[in-house]
Each structure stands twice: as C-alpha cells, then as structure tokens.
C-alpha cells in the first residue's frame, strides 16, 4: 500500500519484561521497597472530582518541590513522564545539528534509538577494556554529548573531575549526564550545573525513589537550557504529568529520611551481593548503582539467564558483542539476594 511510503521506519527499544507472575524480579532495576509511606495516604485522599480538570501544565508543585530539595530555582527544573520522556525531549531540543552526538558504545541502549527516531547523527565512543570512559574521545567536534553516570549496564561511576573535564572541552555543545543511578553512592553533577550553562543533569523517581509506576523524571540545568526544553515540551504535549503524579511526586521527594533509609539498605545489599558473587567466581565492574553487571568465565550468561528463569528469578541480558557474556542483576531485598545466591550456588560448583 502506498500510504506506507511516508511512514517513519524505526527499530524501537525493547524494555525489560514486566510480569504479574510470582517471581523474584531483579531485571529492571526497580526499587525493592515501596514508595515513601506518605504516597499511600495522598493517593487515598486524592480529590477524585478534580480529575475532570486538566492538571497544571507547568507541573508547579512538583517542579517547586524538586527545586527546593536540590537548592535550585524552579526555572532550572524540568519534569517529564519518566527520565525517558525527559531525555527524548533533550534529543529533540538540544541535538539539532549535522554533527554527530557522542555517547559510549556500551551504555543505555535507548540513546541510539532516540537518535534514530529523530534522525540525529551519532558516533559511539568505545569504552576501554575495563568499560571506562576515555574523556579524550569527547574532545572532538560534536553535536552534543550524553552518557549515564554511573554508566548502564556497567554500574561504573566516573568522577566529577572527569565530567567537568568533558564539559570544559565542549562549550559548543549541550552535555547531558543521565543520573538515573546516582543516588546509590555517586556524587551528582548537579553541583556543576550553576557553573556550566550547557550542562544538564537528568534524574528519575523510578529507581531510588521507588516510583517507576508513576513515571516521573526530571532535569536540572541553567535557566536557558530549561527554557529551550520547555519550549519543545509545549510543542509536543501541554500536559505530560497527570494529577496523581503531581500529587505524590512532591511527597516522595520531601521524605528524605525514608529515601536515605531505603537507598542505604540497597547499597548494603549490593555490597553483600558483590562479596557473594565474587566467591562464586563472578567478575564485575565495581558498581555504584542498584545493579551488578556480572560475568562468569565458566558459565554462559544466556544459560545462567535461562537457569535462573526456571528458578523464578528474572535478571537481564543484553545482546551486544561486548556485553553478551554478562548478566545485569538488580539489587533486591536481602531475601531476594539470598535466594539468588542459593540458586546460583546450586548451579555453580
């Protein structure tokens, strides 16, 4: 049929599996603990009649709560439907150039999908043999730079000095640091956003704030960057954040004690998992995230994936040449981590 000639053909990103089955679900880096307790109360008390009305398009309450928590102006904060929505809009807003956008070869596998859908040229920069970023790869001319810190799926955290070095070398591009996993031990580049007008930091409520189901992500940067991003948002969808998100988002961000308690527990479980995995002969980059990217010299990753699945434990495997021998294992509760280790011990002699 000839109407198909005008279709934008794309190869979409494949999200990790979601399931209602009773399994140990450590495949999509969700928080194993529920959201802050105030969220439950707020949902129960939500004025359902207000749902007939459009939400505030600027998402004021949520934007203000995030700005206050991070000590920024509200005009420096942008919110979206998860950090995927935020980053998708940054590709559209900031990477409007014929020069290639740069990001690592082993990284969040959505970057090249966004570049493809928006027809943005890009050039992957190979990580070194230890999966580390080589900053000098980002000194060349480019149409923008993005990478996660800690990186995904490796979990490796790079220092703020390295990030500042890359930003300094790129006054002519927007540099985006995707900090989906920053709350599990790393230092945020938010400290640098007041110094560099072209640096944007993206974070999410889906991991450390235990609200993947609410779809809340945000970006912080200079007022200019945020203004350009909002212009694109208002050119795509006036009302991205629904009323429940606007009601519970501020509550999640304001309960700092609960946030510190749960991220602290996850870090503790992660360190225990590292010891146990090592004892079983796994090797992995030292993770500062809520997952461990592990490989075993004697066992095939896909075989382990299958074995764990048969034992009702879901982990994630990626197909790329450099990562196909690895499993990405989310940090769960202590009980989930123990069940994983027990299952692995039966397999790995």
């Amino acid at each position: 049929m000839s109407w198909e000639r005008n279709i934008r053909r794309v190869v979409p990103y494949t999200p990790g599996e979601q399931t209602n089955k009773k399994v140990i679900k450590i495949n999509t880096n969700e928080c194993p603990y529920p959201p802050a307790p105030g969220v439950e109360k707020a949902l129960k008390e939500l004025n359902y009649e207000s749902l007939r009305l459009y939400p505030k398009p600027a998402a004021d309450d949520l934007v203000n709560a995030i700005a206050k928590y991070y000590g920024k102006k509200s005009s420096q904060v942008f919110v979206g439907v998860g950090s995927d929505d935020v980053i998708s809009m940054t590709f559209l807003a900031y990477f409007n150039s014929d020069k290639p956008v740069l990001f690592p070869d082993v990284t969040y596998s959505f970057y090249d999908v966004w570049a493809d859908v928006y027809r943005i040229p890009y050039e992957k920069q190979a990580l070194d043999d230890n999966f580390r970023i080589k900053p000098e790869d980002y000194y060349k001319e480019n149409g923008g730079i993005i990478f996660p810190n800690p990186n995904a799926p490796t979990g490796i955290y790079e220092s703020l000095d390295m990030i500042e070095d890359i930003v300094k070398h790129n006054p002519d591009s927007v540099v985006i640091i995707d900090e989906a996993y920053i709350d599990f031990g790393g230092k945020s580049a938010l400290a640098l956003t007041d110094k560099y007008e072209n640096l944007l930091v993206v974070q999410t409520f889906s991991k450390s704030r235990a609200m993947a189901g609410m779809r809340i992500g945000f970006a912080i940067g200079s007022e200019k960057l945020i203004k350009y991003l909002n212009d694109v948002k208002y050119s795509v969808n006036s009302y991205t954040m629904n009323t429940p998100s606007l009601v519970v988002g501020p509550i999640a961000i304001e309960d700092d004690a609960y946030f510190k308690e749960t991220t602290g527990k996850i870090i503790k479980t992660r360190e225990w998992m590292k010891k146990e995995l090592k004892a079983l002969g796994f090797t992995f980059p030292d993770s500062m995230s809520n997952f461990i990217f592990a490989t075993h010299k004697d066992y095939d990753a896909k075989e382990l994936l299958k074995y764990l699945r048969e034992n009702k434990i879901l982990v994630r495997h990626f197909k790329g040449e450099r990562v196909k021998d690895y499993l990405r294992i989310s940090v769960g509760t202590d009980e989930q981590a123990e069940a994983l280790m027990e299952a692995l011990k039966k397999k790995i002699k």
Copy 2:
C-alpha cells in the same frame, strides 16, 4: 553562547489557563461532572506498593478495555498521555514526507506546532465562509491529512460521507480524524476504520469521560497503522502510561451508563445555551461538541472576555484573524450556564 547554535527553536502551543481559584471555568472544554464513580473507589484501593514497579509498557488492560468497548481488536488500539501525546506521535510516525500535510486554517492550533517541531511541511486549507471544510481541498497530493470532527474551535460536525470521500481520494496518505468531541452527538468514523487501512481515529478521555487530569488518549485504526505508531512510541518512551491511569482508565470506559448520562446532560445544557445565546444576539455555528463558538455583532469578543473574567467566568479567546471576534465557551453544568447567561444579560442590552 555557541552551544545554542544546535538548539531546535520552536514557538510552542499555549494551553488554556488552569487555576485553583474559585471561578466558573468554562475555558478548556473539561467535563463539568466528575469521572465515573468507580474511579474514586479504584484510586482508594490502588495497591500503592505496586508503584515501585514499572507499569506494563503495552498498557494491556487499558488497550483491551477500549478495544472491547468499540468492538475492535486490541492490536487496533494505541494509547497515549492524552490525545495530544497520541497525535504528536502520529505526526512523527505517519507524516514523514516532503509533501505538505493538509489541515484546515481554522482548527486545533496544535497541528502547525507539531508540524513545526518535527519539521514537517504543511499547507492550511481555508474553511469556507461558514467554517465548513471543502472536501475538494483535500484531493491534491499531500503528505497526510488531519482534522478534528467536530472541528475545534467551531464545533461543526461534518458527515461520515464527507470523511469517507476524503479518505477515498487519499489512498497514498494517512488520514487522521481527531474526534476529541465526537461523543457529544456526532457519529464516529470508527465505523470506517475496518474499511480503510490508512484511516486513524483519535479520541480522548479528557472531555466526554471527565478525566483530563489522568491524561489518557487513544487511537484506533488498522493493525498496520497501530504497529507503526507503537514502533515510534517504543522509540520515544517505553512506559508512557502510569499505573493509576492503567487502573482507572478501564473503569471509566466500562461504566457506559454513567458516560451516557453525563454526555446526555451536557448535550441538553448545550442546546439550552444555544437558545439563550441566540436570544442575546449571539451567532454561532451549530455545535455538536461540548462548547459553543459565539460572536456578537455589537460587542467585541476581547471586551466580553475581560468582562466575564471580572465576573469570575473564564472562557477562551483565540487570536487568529478569522476567529478573533469569537469566544469559545465550554458547556458547563446548568448552574454554570445560567450564571453565564445572567452575567451576559447584564452586559448586553
């Protein structure tokens, strides 16, 4: 600063005003009645612990409920964050051509914004002097066609015969009928989607289903069209619909009695408003939507807008040359409509 050279400059859409103030808010075509009663119960019973998990990316429950209600296959249904999100993605997915997309000169003012942000050429087709679509304007070569039925902000409903005529003339383009206001008396083009593979119908929960605050829109078309749209969606954001939306959406769609009762009341109030406005000397196209697009030969629209605002009644005014003498007045409750008429009677002698 030279990083700004890569910025996509756009002129965004301006949404209608949202406010917490105590006013008669008939400016953004919201439903004056609350959502279906089951929505309240479902929100109170929502399993808040589940919010730590990602929602189902395919939004299965919601998609299935919509498919069942309209007698379609689930593979013929696409959902998004309001119909704005849905239509934004249709522009990206279907209008990937050098030929101009066609839409009326007086219509939803987001169409040219989407075309601009995605760099899609377009050509506005002038409505006739009575704000009617001239079908022959849509016979020429094009990269796609979109218009609302009933049209916004005129409220005019065009027959399915006219729509079928336009679709028949355009086997080489995707034709999108934006039916945000179809439930207030018109016949949906859904009846034609099984016959024409290139016809997509978009609807929303924001008006007739009283859930603007939940951000739910959907599209129905051939399996092929929906597949292409999902490919783009999964290239932009895997999880657009949050858990509360997925929980309450199906409840709203299943309560057909409540839906018919509230849309019936709105139609009744609209017909009363037409009589009253006419008696006051207003003229307007005959609306089949939940708003009336009215002008008065002796009173300036902007002056009336200001006067109503001073009397705590918000209506909408658009700046375009052909529409600047009109006010778009949403149909509210009987009480709101009466208050509007009382205020107007004081002004219009």
